[in-house]
């Protein structure tokens, strides 16, 4: 393997409901920095059905080249079909780095591709850098439940690959009208070669606001004592128009479903306001919310580590504080709105 043959930073572009998912745009932003540092190009690999037109979006967000595999065989994500397309693309064009969003799809695909190439794959990276002269990717990630950060290298194989947590990197401001090179490819895989079928896709509709997309997240922890006690979290979230978050303990206790979980094994969130109510602040929770705009912690234990990670803290009884806040908020807001009319 001659490393000189490998160049360019690639991003696997994930498409959902006909749109590019946010993490792919974030990775184009991160990838652009790496590409500039290496003096190389940034490319997106776009796989799906009726997706070619999305290349325009990718150019606007920084891609110089977009490789497209547009075929009905790619209608739904399936490991075997997407993997084949990406592997063929890699063999043909030999990228130095491939980045994937650390989503269900991105992680599934990256794991399969890494094994077949083979090459090294760093999971759930939160910091990316590249050595200008050698092209060595420095992918850092929280490890051991967030207790430590580790930088992972892949020195002997190319391409180097990493999955990257959503909501950690920043997308570039789109440049309307920016264009690039569109390369349309055809994969050799046939439907009869694929051993899985997607029979149905079910989307939850009960989830009012997706927690990783919400401006306001009200999260609760085991300190609330019970599922009944956790109701104050729902109440405040409803009052503020926010989404409900939870610590791992709460999800494990079954008070709310897993898609509410914030942290290392749950979702990373970066809302403008994050409430942590009755959450002690274990490191594995902190890694999932520490980049929120304004973090407010309410806990009856003055020694709770969560106060170290919050902008404002209240030591007190959540069952007294939260209902009072809800009441004051409602009053203030009705007042405010009247003032402005």
């Amino acid at each position: 393997m001659s490393f000189e043959d490998y160049s360019g930073i690639w991003v696997f572009i994930e498409v959902k409901d006909g749109e590019v998912v946010p993490v792919s745009l974030e990775l184009l932003g991160a990838g652009k920095e790496l590409a500039d540092k290496r003096g190389t190009e940034l490319a997106g690999v776009l796989i799906g059905e009726n997706v070619t037109h999305l290349a325009d979006t990718l150019f606007e967000y920084g891609a110089d080249t977009v490789y497209v595999y547009d075929d009905t065989i790619f209608k739904n994500y399936r490991t075997e079909s997407y993997m084949k397309a990406l592997l063929e693309c890699c063999q043909e064009y030999k990228p130095e780095v491939i980045l994937y969003g650390a989503t269900s799809t991105g992680k599934d695909l990256a794991s399969a591709v890494a094994t077949d190439l083979p090459t090294g794959l760093t999971a759930d990276s939160t910091i990316l850098d590249i050595e200008e002269d050698t092209g060595l990717l420095l992918a850092s990630r929280p490890a051991f439940g967030g207790n430590i950060m580790a930088t992972i290298l892949c020195k002997k194989y190319r391409p180097q690959m990493a999955t990257v947590r959503p909501k950690v990197m920043k997308a570039l401001t789109p440049e309307p009208g920016r264009t690039g090179r569109l390369i349309e490819e055809t994969a050799s895989i046939k439907e009869e070669d694929i051993r899985t079928k997607v029979l149905e896709i079910v989307q939850f509709t009960t989830q009012k606001v997706r927690i990783d997309e919400a401006d306001i997240v009200v999260a609760g922890g085991k300190g609330l004592g019970s599922e009944k006690g956790f109701q104050v979290v729902h109440d405040l979230a409803e009052t503020l128009g926010g989404a409900v978050g939870a610590s791992r303990d709460v999800v494990e206790a079954g008070w709310v479903e897993h898609h509410h979980q914030v942290g290392q094994t749950g979702l990373t969130v970066t809302p403008k306001i994050y409430f942590a109510i009755g959450i002690s602040g274990a490191i594995q929770h902190i890694v999932g919310m520490q980049n929120s705009g304004l973090i407010i912690a309410i806990n009856n234990d003055p020694e709770a580590p969560i106060f170290q990670s919050s902008h404002y803290g209240i030591v007190g009884d959540a069952f007294e504080i939260v209902p009072l806040l809800i009441q004051q908020f409602k009053q203030a807001f009705n007042q405010e709105v009247v003032d402005h009319v």
């Binding site: 759930d124 079928k197 989307q203 897993h258 009072l324 809800i326």
Partner: protein, 279 residues
């Protein structure tokens, strides 16, 4: 009759592990070694499928000799057989080298009894990657089914499985040919307390232990540190946040200060109009 292999790992309980602040290393003695929580659900699912469709559950782990304890835990859950691969040559393996070694062990298990289904936990709590399961699937040329939160149907005669695969905002229903590999979410089942019979069986159970020399067609260069494309170059403790301002006073004073903070960002509430706010 199904033969299911569940891949498991003994891990330090990262929820309570302490760091040595001087060396930035983990104080492993501070955390008990446990069966990786996701793997307990993998074994439980295997046992449930066995009860429903008939068959055998084998568990497989790679680890140092004390990891036998994790296998015993799986026997308590209801697994029938335990296999362990243990050798210094495996040490330092990343996900690629780990999936290689486990694949070699599964090939050997398959010679004893052909394998229909492999179940792994979604990830381990010490590695947090979720890459080993799909890696094994690719190496054995089985379809990898990741993030499975329900096994809807197994059709042994026709050789297919139908599962729910969890997505960010829902799930997809997938049909796959068998043999296949599933990595499962915790929500797939609850692991009940073990029966006394299983606990007694586990207490005296001794797994089959293989060293590298016991496996076949092994390329030693693909094992352990040597076979691992990734290396850890630097480890550091995440910087401790310094903490913010505490809002003092009685409850009413505290919430009033909090309210003022929220009012500074009132565009969030007016624009979105939470149901509590009447616009």
């Amino acid at each position: 009759m199904l033969h299911i292999v569940a891949c498991i790992k003994q891990v330090p309980d990262t929820k309570i592990i302490k760091m040595n602040p001087k060396t930035n290393t983990m104080d492993r003695a501070s955390a008990p070694a446990i069966l990786n929580p996701y793997d307990a659900h993998a074994v439980e699912e295997a046992v449930r499928l066995k009860k429903k469709y008939g068959g055998t559950v084998s568990v497989l782990t790679m680890g140092p000799p004390p990891a036998v304890k994790a296998i015993k835990k799986c026997i308590e859950i209801g697994a029938d057989e335990g296999y362990m691969i243990s050798d210094r040559a495996f040490a330092g393996a990343d996900t690629l080298a780990t999936s290689y070694a486990l694949t070699k062990a599964i090939e050997k298990i398959s010679q004893i009894k052909p394998v229909d289904l492999i179940i792994c936990g979604k990830m381990t709590i010490d590695g947090d990657t979720g890459q080993v399961g799909p890696g094994i699937a690719r190496r054995l040329d089985m379809p990898p089914l990741t993030s499975v939160n329900k096994v809807k149907e197994i059709n042994v005669e026709e050789g297919y499985a139908i599962v729910h695969r969890k997505l960010e905002d829902g799930y997809e229903v997938i049909q796959s040919t068998m043999p296949c590999l599933m990595s499962v979410e915790k929500e797939i089942n609850d692991v009940p307390y073990s029966s006394m019979t299983n606990m007694l069986k586990a207490a005296r159970y001794q797994p089959v232990i293989w060293a590298v020399a016991d496996l076949e067609d092994v390329e030693r260069t693909q094992l352990g540190l040597k076979g691992s494309p990734t290396i850890v170059s630097k480890v550091w403790a995440p910087k401790k946040p310094s903490g913010g301002e505490m809002l003092e006073g009685d409850a009413a004073q505290q919430t009033e200060q909090l309210l003022n903070l929220l009012l500074e960002k009132k565009e969030l509430f007016v624009a979105k109009g939470g149901s509590g706010v009447e616009l």
